[in-house]
């Protein structure tokens, strides 16, 4: 009797141990599951134009210009990007009247830092550019600044005959920050702000470059320039790549 009792106890405890361990094992197995989502991402050439420059051409008397921009998606985050444009800008103040005309090219990359949801393809990006411009400046008229001019003349002495300085060039670097959002299928709108640093320029003798196409106006205080853009663009899809999202989910049981 006593032996039988011990037997039963042994078997019982063994069964319980097995059950417990198998329970623990199954717990470990079913804790997480992986779920893979695949979205098709469009890669291609995006072409557009700067609307702010077009608007200024229509509404500002002293400005005519346009800019065509394009980018090409290289990888998930990196875009090859560039702009090409032409501008004519007349600056006028009390002592100078100057017209700058010329073309420019900017090339570089955009890095997308925005983690898109699902299949969206918007951008919040930082861009780097090198820019170059060839232009001419016409000094339409200028005045001789003389604080004591009123002793002899009521007005400052003015030189009205124009002088053209042609064959001017400038090279600069640019950092820009911007967004591009898909408004509807393949059609994007974007804004960006640009900070520019002038590397080199050919300035006319006894004068300076007041405005550089693409770089915008220069400042007396340094070699920096600023700019902004508002562009509309259209993506020409060339191929598609899979965007794989691996999600880990906890199982319910």
């Amino acid at each position: 009797m006593k032996i039988q009792h011990t037997y039963v106890f042994c078997i019982r405890s063994l069964i319980i141990l097995l059950l417990l361990s198998s329970f623990a094992y199954s717990q470990e197995e079913n804790e997480t599951v992986t779920d893979t989502l695949i979205y098709k991402q469009k890669y291609g050439l995006r072409l557009g134009a700067d609307m702010s420059k077009l608007a200024r051409t229509f509404f500002e008397d002293n400005y005519t210009g346009f800019e065509i921009m394009g980018d090409y998606r290289l990888t998930k985050k990196i875009y090859l990007a560039g702009e090409i444009g032409n501008e004519e800008r007349t600056l006028e103040n009390e002592v100078l009247n100057n017209t700058t005309k010329g073309s420019y090219f900017k090339g570089g990359i955009d890095l997308n830092f925005y983690k898109n949801w699902l299949d969206m393809e918007n951008m919040i990006y930082i861009g780097f550019r090198g820019g170059a411009s060839t232009f001419s400046q016409t000094l339409n008229s200028f005045k001789i600044y003389d604080v004591n001019h009123q002793y002899w003349n009521d007005d400052l002495f003015a030189v009205e005959e124009g002088t053209e300085f042609s064959g001017l060039t400038a090279i600069w670097l640019e950092i820009l920050i911007g967004i591009k959002a898909e408004l509807f299928n393949n059609f994007y709108a974007g804004i960006n702000a640009q900070l520019k640093g002038l590397i080199t320029e050919t300035a006319p003798g006894n004068y300076e470059n007041l405005y550089i196409p693409g770089f915008n106006r220069t400042f007396d205080s340094g070699r920096f320039g600023v700019g902004f853009g508002f562009n509309l663009s259209y993506l020409v899809p060339i191929f598609k790549k899979d965007k794989v999202i691996i999600q880990e989910k906890e199982s319910d049981e």
Partner: protein, 189 residues
């Protein structure tokens, strides 16, 4: 949304940075005047003030009919100095076309102005006219100040009005007037 806010902030900072800088600051060196200092003829290194001197451009002081006249009060328009003792005077020069033509500016230097102004008709002031000739050269300053003129090939002739002159000698320190840092001309008397 947060990133968009940062972008808007950045844009507005860029906009605010575009301040007007087309006002010519006062400290900027622009078109200089002709600086004259008066020295003692017996002691050419020493400044000597001219008693009761009045200085005005020829034809700048006019009466109510517009005919040139002599200044009678401190407030007469066109008077640079009136009836005061001075060792120095700064003369604005006429700026004209930059075509290598010689330009002439004439100034009247009247010593002992008080003798003309007083009741006593037997004593009179001593008037000398200096004729300043020069050429202009326009130098770019900045977008706010435009160009300034400097003056080259300076020469000064003395023209006595009434036979005797109170000015004994005029010495040119330089023939190029580029700034107002130091005197360009020494007048000995």
């Amino acid at each position: 949304m947060k990133k968009l806010n940062i972008l808007i902030l950045l844009l507005s900072v860029v906009m605010l940075a575009c301040e007007r800088d087309d006002i010519c600051a006062e400290g900027v060196s622009t078109t200089p005047r002709l600086l004259i200092e008066f020295y003692d003829i017996n002691n050419p290194d020493d400044l000597k003030s001219v008693p009761r001197i009045s200085v005005y451009g020829e034809g700048r002081v006019v009466d109510e009919n517009g005919t040139p006249t002599e200044p009678t009060t401190e407030n007469s328009e066109g008077t640079l100095l009136f009836n005061e003792n001075s060792t120095t005077v700064s003369l604005p020069l006429i700026v004209d076309l930059d075509n290598n033509d010689v330009i002439t500016t004439r100034y009247i230097l009247e010593k002992d102005t008080n003798l003309r102004l007083d009741e006593d008709d037997t004593t009179q002031s001593d008037v000398d006219i200096i004729e300043i000739t020069y050429t202009t050269n326009f130098i770019y300053v900045s977008r706010a100040c435009g160009y300034k003129s400097v003056f080259n090939n300076l020469d000064i002739d003395l023209e006595p009005v009434d036979g005797d002159t109170w000015i004994n000698n005029i010495e040119l320190v330089t023939t190029e007037i580029e700034n107002e840092n130091s005197a360009h001309v020494r007048i000995l008397h």
